[in-house]
């Protein structure tokens, strides 16, 4: 093994990652509408067919439902997204707030998730289809 090459490679690895950070590469992809939420949820969750979707006011979080209890949560992961499909999810609360409609989701008896949605109509549609 050429240990100099190995050491140089490791240095190059760390340098390149550092350059990516210095150049401010990545960022977060902002989502705009419920259709975006459905599209990403279907792309990231094999077999999921979305019927309603919401995007957070910040554009970073999203949720989509395919039917009663069937929820996909979308969160940023670097410059892309990760999706979590949850069975048995329900809407716990819908509240109007200054930034939009606050949708509180019960993912499980131990886990809640809150998302503030600018589009009140989309929030109500999600709640109606997902169920409470």
């Amino acid at each position: 093994m050429n240990w100099w090459l190995a050491a140089g490679s490791l240095a190059a690895v760390l340098t390149l990652a550092g350059v990516a950070k210095l150049l401010k590469l990545g960022g977060t992809q902002k989502l705009e509408s419920g259709d975006d939420a459905i599209r990403i949820a279907e792309a990231l969750s094999s077999g999921f067919e979305g019927k309603a979707g919401v995007v957070s006011a910040s554009g970073e979080l999203a949720a989509a439902t395919g039917g009663p209890g069937d929820l996909v949560l979308i969160e940023p992961m670097g410059a892309r997204h990760r999706a979590r499909r949850i069975a048995g999810a329900r809407v716990a609360m819908l509240n109007e707030g200054p930034a939009g409609t606050v949708v509180t989701l019960r993912l499980s008896p131990q886990e809640m998730f809150r998302i503030t949605v600018a589009d009140a109509g989309a929030a109500r549609a999600l709640a109606r289809i997902l169920g409470d």
Binding site: M1, N2, L5, A6, G8, S9, L10, A12, V13, L14, L16, A17, V19, A20, K21, L23, K24, L25, G26, G27, Q29, I38, R39, E42, A43, L44, S46, G47, E49, G50, M77, G78, A79, R80, R82, A83, R84
Partner: protein
């Protein structure tokens, strides 16, 4: 026996320079092409892969030499044998690569390379730590049995790997038609890395796309179906250890809980996504569902009813020729 250099070692400075150049292009055109944490994970996986390769390389070479003693022909180091070795090694790579997508045992090692949602030159360096454990090197054994010297084969394999570096980019749209017809290109390989149903399990080529065209696994990239990168069940984070071992852990968990020997063997050697109760998605199921959805859409377009589900063909139609 001539002393042949390792092409990959010689190419490392070029790899670094080209990654840097691509990052600069991303800074100017589309910053989301790179993600610092994803890049760090990819490059650390590549670094670990070289360490793993050094640890296992002696054993693989020793096995190659042992098999070579039973060779059918005595092949010299003349240049034309190098050419033939390169072509046949690429065919062996196609066979290995196709198995690496269709047999879960090999997929568990190969999935690392596909596990990034990004597609850039750092993805090219995102390599497995468990290649030796998965026994992927077995696909080259016929070359040694034919009579190609191990040093020649490994040299050609190194050239093959170096060639595959530059095709991991979105900067290049399409190459000239004559080139796209014969060689593996960024366009062809974007299809290979995509999880769009149309593109699943396609374009296994290393250097020559000819093998896919001949063996029925070719799919062209479409402007109206932009590739979406990653794996069917994407990693939830950038954890290095999870990236390197998650599918092996999945196999172990499934085999432990499997009902019987047949199921255990299926979870190890069946296609990725196979399950004894049919509860999971294989590529075939995903494609079948997508085709059914398209057929339903086509029927709806004929005016016989509303669209039941959105078409999976997504994204904007954009120009792909030349430099993007």
């Amino acid at each position: 026996m001539p002393s042949l250099p390792d092409p990959v070692d010689l190419a490392v400075p070029a790899f670094v320079a080209l990654v840097l150049a691509e990052m600069l292009v991303a800074r100017l055109k589309d910053r989301s092409r790179y993600c610092p944490r994803d890049t760090l994970t990819s490059l650390m996986l590549g670094f670990g892969s070289t360490i793993a390769g050094v640890l296992a390389g002696g054993m693989v070479f020793g096995l190659a030499v042992w098999v070579h003693q039973f060779r059918l022909f005595d092949i010299s180091y003349a240049w034309y044998w190098f050419v033939l070795a390169f072509v046949l090694d690429d065919l062996a790579y196609y066979a290995f690569h196709r198995s690496a997508h269709r047999v879960r045992w090999f997929w568990a090692s190969h999935v690392i390379h596909h596990s990034s949602q990004h597609y850039n030159l750092s993805t090219a360096l995102r390599q497995t730590w468990t290649g030796f454990f998965s026994l992927g090197f077995l696909f080259r054994l016929p070359l040694f049995l034919i009579g190609f010297p191990p040093a020649m084969v490994f040299f050609c394999a190194g050239l093959n790997l170096v060639y595959q570096f530059w095709i991991h980019t979105e900067v290049i749209g399409r190459m000239p038609r004559w080139f796209e017809a014969v060689m593996n290109t960024p366009s062809h390989h974007r299809v290979h890395h995509a999880t769009n149903a149309r593109y699943l399990d396609k374009n296994y080529a290393g250097v020559f796309i000819v093998w896919d065209r001949l063996l029925g696994t070719f799919e062209p990239e479409r402007d109206d179906d932009r590739p979406r990168y990653g794996i069917v069940h994407n990693l939830p984070d950038f954890n290095l250890i999870r990236a390197a071992f998650h599918e092996w852990w999945g196999i172990a968990r499934d085999v432990w809980t499997a009902p019987g020997l047949r199921a255990r063997l299926g979870y190890m050697f069946g296609p990725p996504g196979w399950s004894h109760d049919g509860s999971r998605d294989t590529s075939e199921k995903i494609k079948a569902r997508w085709l059914a959805s398209r057929q339903a859409s086509a029927v709806a377009d004929d005016g016989t009813g509303p669209l039941p589900h959105p078409d999976h063909a997504g994204g904007r139609a954009g120009e792909r020729a030349g430099i993007a």
